[in-house]
C-alpha cells in the first residue's frame, strides 16, 4: 500500500452546454435515426471543460483545502471524487472508505421523524445499521433535539433541521471525508460548531478534502490547499501560503467585467459620469479584503458641468441588503462644496480593524441633493473580508455575528 489516499490523474470533465445530448426526447432520437445523423455541434450547443487536466495527490491523514471562484470546477471535482459522476478523461484512485458530504440532510424526508431520518440518512451516507445504533445517542445529543426525536422533521424549525442533518454527518467515521461548503449554511454559532467538529475530524488523522470559500477555515483546518481556476490547478502548496497568494490576487476578470458592464449600462447624466470603482489595499487592487489593513474605496468620475449639490457616495451592505455604512464625499465638510468640471478621483478609507470577516456588498452612487440620482440604482460589487486583524484574535475560529467588528479600547481595572 502506498501512503496516497486520493490520486487524481489528469482528470478532465466535459459538459455540453445548450443541448441535452443525453436526455433527448424519443421523438428527436427517432427523427435523428431516420435522417442518419447525430445532433452534435448545432442548436447553439457548445462544449465546456469544467475540469481540464487536473492532477494532485492527497496523502493519508492529510487535510487538503480546495479553493477557487464560483465556476472554477470545485463542485465538479467533488462530484468526481465522490463517484457521483465520472471524468471524461483521466482517472481517480481512492484508497479507503470515502464519505462525501455535498450537502447535509441528503435524503431527509419531511414525513419521517427525527429518529427515522437519522437511520435513513446514516444509511445513505454509508453507515451500517450497527454503527447507526451505536452512535444514535451521540447524534441526538449533538443535534440537541431529544425532545422532538419522534416528531416528523417537517415540524422542525430550520435550525433544528440543520442541526440534526449536520449531527448525522458529523458522526460519520470514514477514512476519507470529502466536504463541500456545508458550513455555508446556518447561523454563526452553528457554523462555528461545525468548524470545530471538522477540526476534530482532521485532528484524528483522517484524510479530509475540504472545499470552501471560507479562507480562515481552510487555513485553520488544512495543511495544504489547491486552487482551481477555469478548471485547472493554478496554485498548490501549504494552505497558509496558498490562501495568502489567493487573497492577493487581483479582482477576477469576471468580477471586473461585471462592474465595467454595470458602469457602461448606466443612463447618461448631464452633469456626472462614473468611470470606475476599485478596492485597494496597500496600493493594490484586491478581490478579498484583509480586515487587518485599511481599505481604500477609489471612485473615478467626471463632472460634465459643475452642479450645486452634486455628491458621490457609497453604501456598504450585507448580503441581505441591510445598509451598514453610508458615507458621502462632501457630507462631513459642513457645507456643500461644488465640484469643478473635469476628472476626479475620490478615495474613502475604511480603517483597519473595522470590518467583520464576512461578505459585503459595496454600492456606489452619485446624485444631486434633493433633485435626482445621477446613476440610477448605482453600481454594486461584492467582496469578502478575511480575518487578519486584531479584533477577536484571542478567539481564533470564533465567528462573530456582528456586521462590523471595530476595534474598541477596553480598560479593565481592579477597584481599590
Amino acid at each position: 500500500m502506498t501512503d496516497i489516499a486520493v490520486h487524481v490523474e489528469s482528470v478532465s470533465k466535459l459538459y455540453r452546454i445548450g443541448a441535452k445530448i443525453d436526455s433527448r426526447s424519443l421523438r428527436e432520437t427517432v427523427t435523428d435515426l431516420v435522417r442518419l445523423r447525430r445532433r452534435a455541434s448545432e442548436d447553439g450547443e457548445r462544449d465546456l471543460w469544467a475540469l481540464n487536466d487536473v492532477s494532485f495527490q492527497v496523502r493519508h491523514g492529510e487535510a487538503v483545502g480546495i479553493i477557487g471562484q464560483n465556476g472554477a470546477g470545485k463542485s465538479t471535482l467533488l462530484k468526481i471524487l465522490s463517484r457521483i459522476t465520472e471524468p471524461t478523461k483521466g482517472r481517480v484512485v481512492v484508497s479507503g472508505r470515502v464519505s462525501s458530504l455535498l450537502e447535509v440532510g441528503t435524503g431527509f424526508h419531511g414525513e419521517l421523524s427525527g429518529r427515522e431520518n437519522i437511520q435513513l440518512n446514516g444509511a445513505i451516507l454509508g453507515m451500517t445499521r450497527a454503527e447507526i445504533r451505536q452512535r444514535f445517542d451521540a447524534i441526538v445529543a449533538f443535534a440537541e433535539v431529544d425532545r422532538f426525536i419522534d416528531t416528523p422533521v417537517k415540524y422542525y424549525s430550520s435550525g433544528m433541521y440543520m442541526r440534526l442533518a449536520f449531527a448525522v454527518a458529523a458522526h460519520l467515521e470514514p477514512e476519507i471525508l470529502i466536504v463541500d461548503e456545508v458550513l455555508a449554511v446556518g447561523d454563526a454559532a452553528f457554523q462555528a460548531k461545525c468548524l470545530r467538529k471538522m477540526g476534530e475530524v482532521a485532528a484524528h488523522g483522517r484524510t479530509v478534502l475540504f472545499v470552501s470559500h471560507n479562507m480562515p477555515a481552510v487555513r485553520a483546518l488544512c495543511e495544504r490547499a489547491v486552487v482551481l481556476s477555469g478548471g485547472r490547478v493554478v496554485d498548490e502548496g501549504t494552505s497558509a501560503a496558498v490562501v495568502t497568494r489567493y487573497l492577493q490576487r487581483v479582482t477576477s476578470p469576471a468580477g471586473r467585467d461585471d462592474l465595467a458592464r454595470q458602469i457602461a449600462g448606466l443612463k447618461p447624466d448631464p452633469s456626472f459620469r462614473l468611470l470606475s470603482v476599485r478596492l485597494l489595499q496597500m496600493g493594490n487592487d484586491v478581490a478579498t479584503i484583509s480586515n487587518g489593513e485599511p481599505l481604500q474605496i477609489r471612485i473615478d468620475f467626471e463632472v460634465l458641468s459643475p452642479t450645486m449639490g452634486l455628491h458621490v457616495y457609497f453604501q456598504l451592505l450585507d448580503l441581505e441588503d441591510t445598509v451598514i455604512i453610508e458615507s458621502i464625499h462632501n457630507g462631513d465638510t459642513g457645507e456643500m462644496l461644488v465640484l469643478s468640471a473635469g476628472l476626479h478621483e475620490a478615495t474613502a478609507t475604511i480603517p483597519a480593524n473595522f470590518l467583520a470577516p464576512r461578505p459585503y456588498q459595496l454600492r456606489v452612487l452619485a446624485g444631486v441633493a434633493n433633485v435626482r440620482s445621477c446613476v440610477g440604482e448605482g453600481v454594486r460589487l461584492t467582496f469578502d473580508v478575511e480575518q487578519t486583524g486584531i479584533v477577536n484574535s484571542s478567539y481564533p475560529g470564533y465567528e462573530t455575528p456582528a456586521r462590523l467588528a471595530p476595534h474598541l479600547d477596553w480598560i479593565v481595572t481592579v477597584p481599590s
Binding site: 459538459y15 443525453d22 432520437t29 462530484k79
Partner: protein
C-alpha cells in the same frame, strides 16, 4: 461484461436497500387516512368493476371459480407487476436528489422501488382469505407451491423490465407517458378478466409469448387446482433472468452519465 455489474458491491450496500424500501413504505402509509387499506382497495375495486362488467354482463367463464374471486386472483399478480413497473420505471427520476449528491450503486434504486410493491401485494394477498371464505371457496393445496413460485417470477420479471425502463426513462423522458398506456394494453392481453381456456387455439402460441400470461395462469391455477406447468414456468424464469441480466448491463453502461443528465 457481467462482472461490470459488481454484485459484491451491490451486496455490500444491502442495508441501504433495506432502508430505501423501509422509507418508501413508511412514507406511503404515514399521513394517509386509510393507510395500509390502500394496498387492498386498488385490486378490490378493480375486482368489483370486472365482476360486474365481465362476470355479470358479459358472463365470461371463470374456470370453476366464482367470477369475483377469479378476477381478484388474476389481479393480485397483475397489480404487483404493474405497480412494480410503474414505480420502478420512474424510480431513477424520483431519486434524482440522491443520485446527484451521494454515491451508491444506482441499481439499488429500481430494485428498491420494485421491492416496495411486494409489501402492497402481501396485504392484498391476505385479503384473499376473507374473500374466499365469503364465497365458500376452498383453495387447492397446489397454491402452496404455485403462489410463491409465480409471485417470485412476477417479481423478477418486473425487476428486469424496471431496470431497463428506469435507465431508458432517464434518457428518454417521454417514455414515462408511454409506459402506463402499454401496461393498460398489456393487462387485456393477459388472461385476467378471461381464462386462458377461452383463448382460441390458433392464438394460444402468441398469448403464451407473454410471460405474464403463464404467470397469472400459474398463480390462479394454483388456487383452482391446476398443476404447475414446468415448461411454462421455466420459460418465464428464463425470460425474467434474460431481462435482469441484459437490463443490468444496459443500466451500468448508462450509469456513468446519470448524475450529469438527471
Amino acid at each position: 461484461m457481467w462482472r461490470s455489474v459488481d454484485l459484491r458491491e451491490l451486496w455490500n450496500y444491502r442495508e441501504l436497500l433495506y432502508f430505501l424500501v423501509w422509507r418508501d413504505v413508511k412514507v406511503r402509509y404515514k399521513q394517509t387516512l386509510l393507510g395500509v387499506t390502500w394496498a387492498v382497495i386498488q385490486p378490490l375495486f378493480a375486482m368489483l368493476i370486472f365482476a360486474f362488467f365481465f362476470g355479470r354482463i358479459a358472463k365470461l367463464p371463470s374456470d370453476g371459480m366464482p367470477y369475483p374471486l377469479f378476477a381478484y386472483a388474476g389481479l393480485l399478480p397483475w397489480t404487483l407487476f404493474s405497480n412494480a413497473i410503474t414505480s420502478g420505471s420512474n424510480s431513477m427520476i424520483a431519486s434524482s436528489n440522491l443520485i446527484t449528491k451521494v454515491y451508491f450503486p444506482r441499481l439499488l434504486v429500481p430494485i428498491a422501488a420494485v421491492s416496495t410493491s411486494l409489501i402492497d401485494f402481501a396485504f392484498a394477498l391476505l385479503m384473499f382469505v376473507p374473500l374466499s371464505l365469503n364465497s365458500h371457496f376452498r383453495p387447492s393445496v397446489n397454491a402452496v407451491i404455485a403462489i410463491p413460485l409465480s409471485t417470485l417470477l412476477v417479481f423478477l420479471t418486473a425487476l428486469g423490465l424496471s431496470i431497463w425502463l428506469s435507465a431508458l426513462v432517464v434518457r428518454f423522458r417521454d417514455l414515462r407517458h408511454v409506459i402506463p398506456f402499454v401496461i393498460q394494453i398489456w393487462m387485456f392481453a393477459t388472461p385476467i378478466v378471461y381464462p386462458l381456456s377461452m383463448v382460441p387455439a390458433k392464438w394460444l402460441p402468441w398469448v403464451k409469448l407473454n410471460p405474464m400470461a403463464s404467470l397469472v395462469e400459474t398463480f390462479r391455477g394454483g388456487l383452482s387446482g391446476r398443476a404447475v406447468d414446468v415448461t411454462e414456468v421455466a420459460a418465464a424464469a428464463g425470460l425474467a433472468i434474460v431481462a435482469i441480466v441484459s437490463g443490468s448491463i444496459y443500466f451500468r453502461r448508462l450509469e456513468r452519465m446519470f448524475a450529469d443528465v438527471i
